[in-house]
Amino acid sequence: MAEYKRSTLIADAPSGYCPGCLHSLATRLVSDVIEELGQGDNSLNVISVGCSALNILYWNGDFLSVAHGRAPAAATGIKRTNPERLVFAYQGDGDLAAIGLAEIMSAANRGENFTVIFANNQTYGMTGGQMAPTTLIGQKTTTTIYGRDPATTGYPMKMCELISTLEAPVYVARFALNSPKGVNDARKGIKKAFQLQMQGKGFTFVELLTNCPTNWHMTPLQTLDYMNTNTIPYFKPGVYKDTEVDEA
């Protein structure tokens, strides 16, 4: 790295996220890429509900805060009426994979020309650590105190795999933010997604595997190891769909 300067798209203050929260890193990463692309003034962050809503007090760029799970719908209304703006929805796993499942799948299927950044930490962090659709089998939460049991709660939902089965999306990828390589890959993935949007190519989806030290009841460093041994083997990082493979 030749040079790194903190983006002005995030507040010159600590974020609202807990120590070691990779949501915070994800937000910072998105701000870095937007600034690198010179899109700071043109970007519009559609902020969802959950810990992602902490960005209301952290994000310095334009934003619209929306109802739980509805960010892809609101982004549709924004982008259809203002196609020139760089629009992205920033959603967590409860927001996107449970209450907002219809909205995300339908927006992806319509090929809406915006980007969804999906922070997957396998829990409802803001409400105190309940089971999410992405909670791993056996993982303990406040609503699965003996560990998630597939007999009654099913299996963790793989959103990249689901979305990549659709015809319309142009870029679908998953990255893990628990290592420098993962973060650097994620940065490239986010950049590619935004560039494809700027070229008018269509729907782009970037899933970022994150953590929740507070509700996983671990130190930040322990969460990174847990991700290596548990999260990453189930939610495999990689590019699931890329119709513009030669570009960007």
Binding site: D41, N42, L44, V46, I47, A53, I56, N60, G61, D62, F63, L64, S65, V66, A67, R70, A73, A74, A75, T76, G77, I78, R80, T81, N82, R85, A102, E103, M105, S106, R110
Partner: protein
Amino acid sequence: MGEKRFMKGNEAIAEAAVRGGCRFFAGYPITPQNEIPEYFSWRLPEVGGAYVQGESEIASVNMVYGAAAMGTRAMTSSSGPGISLKAEGISYLAAAALPAVIVNISRGGPGLGSIQPAQSDYLQATKALGHGGFHAMVFAPNSAQEAVDVLYDAWDYAERDRNPVLVLMDGCLGNIMEEVELPPMKELKDEDLPEWSLTRRNGRDWQGNITPIYTELILEGINAAAGDMYKDWEENDVKVEEFMLEDAEYVVVAYGIASRVAKEAILNLREKGFKVGMIRPITLFPFPKKSIKNLDYGKVKGVIDIEMTIPAQMRDDITLQVMERCPVYEYGRSGGCLLDDEGVYEAIYEIVSGGE
């Protein structure tokens, strides 16, 4: 001058909205309002607008939320069951202070109810369009022409107040064909976009942000300001038709389709010498309280609430203004059964001829 056309109520609504500046519509199919999204689907692209068929009523109203945040005149429509689903988004529109227009072409309820016309959503429209204790202005036109007039100006109210506007009609009015005179297309320029809109960042040095969530002290202030706004509406924005009240001994209160049937009955009763008049709320919220409160109760012997729903839903609002100065009666049909001339005539006749 205006252009005359013979149109279905639903289509007239859509055309008037387009002429009033609507450039975004998202909706989901539900009877009896389907002609509205169908019309928008081809009409909006003609004028440079956008139409999206949402995956649900919830998604549709949130698409409108997004478009409205950009300063675009945006609208959605549905019928009772779908309006229930939109309740979330309407509440968020009010919270985020976003203007939008929602049309409810109502049908029999509760639940899936029936697909036939009914005035079953008065309470929902006027008391609790969603959670959190907010109100929207509620217009209840009683003809295709009046619907055109209301829709044409609906965004002027919505943008003035930064609040959603509801237009409540029933399946009858949505589906009957009538002659309408259409107003000219409003020319909206980019410079006229509301200054709070998130449309143009370039040239604007402040952060554009719109949110439906606040810290408690700010929210309390917002709630109080909304309360003041509702009082202003009551002073300045009530629309009401008062019909043959001068000598009336009995006053019918009816809105929408019920008012048209009731008017027929009143004219027939007048021919027989019964002094009956009518108050027709055109805005259901703000409710025309003064019209009812200031009746000459030395003369008025009874007030009759006629609605196409059972039990009558407007009755409490009427009773509060009558203040026990005379009896309040109600008559209605429900479940999708239509009010008819004879039934309404007989019901009023029985009351005014001393049947009680």
